[in-house]
Assembly symmetry: C2
Homo-oligomer: 329 residues x 2
């Protein structure tokens, strides 16, 4: 077994444990009208990257995975809250092939389920505080505030004609990267890391999150559909202001520029136009630009790890950052 | 100035301070799309009973009002969160004469505003923790979970034909009383109270909350409209399962029983029928039953204060409980 296969095994083993824990957390709780949908969303699958970041960050500063298990669950429950409420705001019927909470149940149930998930995430979080839990609670709370601000910016940008790449980066920082950074910071704090270690791991998570989101935007258009698991071009169909679209708009001239602005003006394109826009992206070489950004952020993430002493945890984080950049789905 | 006037002055002075603080908390924060509605709801008025309970409970165990100011704001922000999200679930257009957040802005904004208010409430709460803040955070979190469970039960009972008085009490405990109890408990913990004092003040708040809610139900039908500020009979119009309606259903026989069940079956009555039902309540003497309940809960609240040593705080809490029972609006 080579080193990378080993890290993958570690990740998959923890993934199983996290999923097992998530399956039991809302079981048989009353009232069913609240806890059945909570159980449903907690079992909805996904990569479980955020809880894994909590665990590895705790290890990175010298603690054990088991010291941060509740905090890992806390971060995943918080992520679930964002999914439930975001799906309402996005009018999404499905998520990962399953009905969203508000479409399976109803609007009120989905709102309440999300609210209660926030409370449960705090409940789990503080279980892992050994001494003063104020800094951990503050970091966690800041993460939630960033996510809400990011979602608000996302909603705002949806209705705006012009969004700059700087605006876009600010939004994905708040919506995605801050939560990844928070996950690492919480793990490091619970593990008893020094302020420098906590900061370094926060930065690692933050840069990883930025790379992750731009990679998501890239995959949406340039993924191999057989491996992707979602329809290629979904963001274009919805008229989403992705890194690729915003970069393309900035680079294009004349007719190309006009065509790209139409994606925003018409709030999306038709299925038959996906190839046309994909070709336009190729012509403007924006996939390359995205790859450069991803490489830059990944590089910064890896550089943040310089001060980390625990070799195994450090290697896992390096592997994770590299796999994120190379993933197909 | 008699004693009661003095306590009222203390309350009104703190009310001004709380309102001043609430006015500044979201001012000039960005993004406006999130903080303008937060500011709007934070300025929406109301009795500010919960934050006042935090302050007086801190004083009751020997601390100063100023020791618990942030926690008082936390509890009020949490209450605001419940208003914003409950108004969505209840399809309410107005609250205290102003447009609700989702009707003034939109659904997404209201959901996000509520979510962010939860986070902000934690942010404020932990500012007042001096030593280990885990117990306070746990108490606060438990309060949120109870509120979510209570709201879920409320939604559930809305669609059920038969709801017992026991069910009703469980629901109002979770939806209203638990938060009042939590407010007192948080204040007492921050003030450095002993476990017995914390428990006693939690009980005081809990019983006060129960009395408060049943009084609300009573006022809805039997208030003096000129003092009430709302339309009398609103709960009947909406077919709400109040203490009075459920008690009346339990006591009534024959035609009366059938008429009362119609309120639920038809999801409310017409404006012209309010007097008919008011007379039915009079005939069944359910206002008296409600008054007995209110008196019982108020009595239990006052009895909980036996172990409280700080005379001024104790007297304020006694005054508060008595005024609650005697209020007209």
């Amino acid at each position: 077994m080579n080193q990378y296969t080993y890290y993958k095994t570690v990740y998959e083993k923890e993934l199983l444990k996290i999923n097992k824990r998530l399956k039991s957390i809302f079981k048989n709780k009353s009232p069913k009208s609240l806890y059945e949908p909570s159980d449903y969303i907690a079992k909805s699958g996904g990569k479980k990257l955020r809880p894994f970041l909590v665990l590895v960050s705790a290890k990175a500063v010298g603690a054990k995975f088991s010291d941060a298990y509740n905090a890992a669950i806390a971060v995943e429950l918080l992520h679930n809250f964002t999914l439930v409420h975001d799906d309402i705001m996005d009018n999404a019927e499905k998520r990962r092939g399953r009905a969203t909470v508000h479409s399976k149940y109803d609007l009120s149930t989905a709102i309440l389920t999300g609210d209660n998930l926030i409370a449960y995430s705090y409940k789990m979080l503080v279980k892992d505080c050994k001494t003063d839990c104020r800094p951990v609670v503050n970091t966690f709370t800041k993460g939630i505030i960033e996510v809400c601000e990011g979602q608000s910016l996302d909603e705002l940008y949806e209705s705006e004609t012009f969004v700059s790449l700087k605006d876009y980066k600010k939004m994905i920082y708040k919506k995605t990267a801050a939560l990844a950074g928070m996950s690492c910071s919480v793990g490091a704090q619970i593990g008893g890391g020094s302020p420098e270690e906590v900061k370094a791991l926060f930065n690692y998570g933050k840069y990883l999150g930025m790379a992750f989101q731009i990679k998501d935007d890239l995959l949406d258009v340039f993924a191999d559909e057989s491996k992707f698991g979602k329809i290629v071009g979904g963001d274009l169909l919805e008229g989403k202001k992705t890194y690729l679209l915003l970069k393309a708009i900035r680079k294009a001239e004349g007719e190309d520029h006009k065509k790209l602005l139409n994606v925003i003006k018409n709030k999306g394109i038709k299925k038959t136009q996906i190839n046309y826009y994909k070709n336009l992206y190729v012509k403007l070489n924006v996939a390359k630009d995205a790859q450069v950004e991803i490489r830059n952020y990944t590089g910064k993430a890896l550089k943040s790890l310089n001060i980390i002493k625990n070799e195994e945890a450090k290697n896992i984080l390096v592997w994770l950052a590299k796999s994120m950049g190379e993933r197909n789905s």
